[in-house]
Symmetry: C2
Subunit: 262 residues, 2 copies
């Protein structure tokens, strides 16, 4: 499992405040804490409330890279903000997070992917929105794979995000997302990777951590490769370690759980 730490996001109050005050310290602490907990990438998102997203992204990437050496997932709604982050990124190959299948956005994202030797998250949505059923989600994924191929981007550099919606808003999407994760593996050889933004499933729900944990485990059971998660959620990390054992992805030892904890 590829773990992308979710915490450096302007949607969180502490990060928003640090961005507003240009205070690198809270952000650097979150970066270190997530890297120590085992994150392979750190997602970096300015949040929606900034006037100058490109400038803020540049600053965020710089301050994070001062304290950790793992690569970043540059996360923004606008490609200009993403490019600003890519320009200063230096810790290995960054992830572009993300593009839809909408032609203009996808082409820009693929151009950046190539130019910056990045990996790319493609969302299973287009200008019409997020379809409900797995087949339609896979059809959109296939479009992204095909256009990426025209750009000479290897399928193995693509992550497809089937887009899990909050269970309280669109409960019937959840099993379709599981089915999508399973089907995506059959779309190409080598297949693209799959990724989910886990916490989205439990937005506004009461038992957030439990819902997150159970959905992560079910997604891993059908083949999920990566997830944007709270790597500092200990119960989540224990559930993940156990799922890896049961999927035979890590060798079992009686003390597997203690060994997986850092």
């Amino acid at each position: 499992m590829i773990l992308i730490g979710e915490r450096i996001n302007g949607l969180f109050k502490d990060v928003r405040k640090a961005i507003q005050e240009k205070d690198p310290k809270p952000i650097q602490e979150l970066a270190i804490k997530q890297a120590e907990a085992g994150a392979h990438y750190l997602d970096v998102n300015t949040g929606p409330a900034v006037d100058n997203p490109a400038e803020v992204m540049d600053w965020l990437v710089e301050v994070v890279q001062e304290v950790v050496d793992i690569p970043l997932s540059i996360d923004a709604a606008k490609m200009d903000a993403i490019e600003a982050g890519l320009k200063v990124h230096k810790n290995g190959r960054p992830i572009i997070n993300s593009t839809t299948a909408e032609a203009k956005m996808l082409e820009r994202a693929l151009t950046l992917t190539k130019e910056y030797n990045a990996l790319l998250i493609g969302l299973a949505m287009n200008e019409k929105g997020v379809p409900k059923d797995a087949n339609s989600r896979c059809a959109i994924a296939m479009e992204i794979i095909a256009v990426a191929d025209e750009f000479g981007i290897p399928t193995s550099d693509l992550f497809i995000d089937p887009l899990i919606l909050p269970v309280g808003v669109a409960q019937d999407h959840a099993p379709e997302v599981l089915e999508t994760i399973s089907q995506i593996k059959t779309l190409a050889d080598p297949p693209p990777k799959t990724v989910i933004g886990l916490s989205n499933v439990s937005q506004k729900a009461k038992h957030r951590e439990l819902i997150n944990r159970i959905f992560l485990v079910m997604s891993m059971g059908v083949g999920l490769d990566a997830a944007i998660v709270d790597v500092n959620d200990k119960d989540l990390m224990d559930a993940m370690a156990t799922a890896k054992i049961l999927l035979n992805q890590e060798i079992y030892a009686e003390s597997y759980l203690e060994m997986s904890r850092r």
Copy 2:
């Protein structure tokens, strides 16, 4: 999810003692406790340490039926002991637990299934043992389905148990069991049900409850219909309730977890 309570089994010390002393009280307490926790069936197994399994099974079924009115899963290695339980069973349709695909045993089990209007658990094993890969497990399941059909037993009255082995003994079996659960649904229309004896996955492991819980959730994610479990394990029941929500099998409400707890 069909829940079969695992606790009335001579492998547990308290049950073994109660059987030896012919003391119905501890067994009846376990029966009530499991029924109250939401078990749909109660598994009843004399354990291996009795000289007269048929006689003990007769007694066990009688004492359990004095206090609960849910049907039982009559669980024994010998068909004579199972038949003794079936003879006195009166709470609806019992489950015969279980037969392998070995011809003589399977025929006897199917004869009893018909005679007592029972449901039947067929194990994905034959005289050669438990195969590792999903395809071989499914081939054995298919044999059971075919012979059951010759006996006029509807496929929907069959439960196939792919046989999960302890992760510490046969870790590479676990993903094959998940694959088997998923494939079994394609073997017939209507498909047989699938069932696992959950606790087996964690035998002799250190983090038993966590391993049980994670394997149950992954199995549900690929289509599991039933499980023999500790229905009094609250964390397991919470995990199951959450999985049902995420599989859209129960309608989500903010208080789903509280509503699922009895």
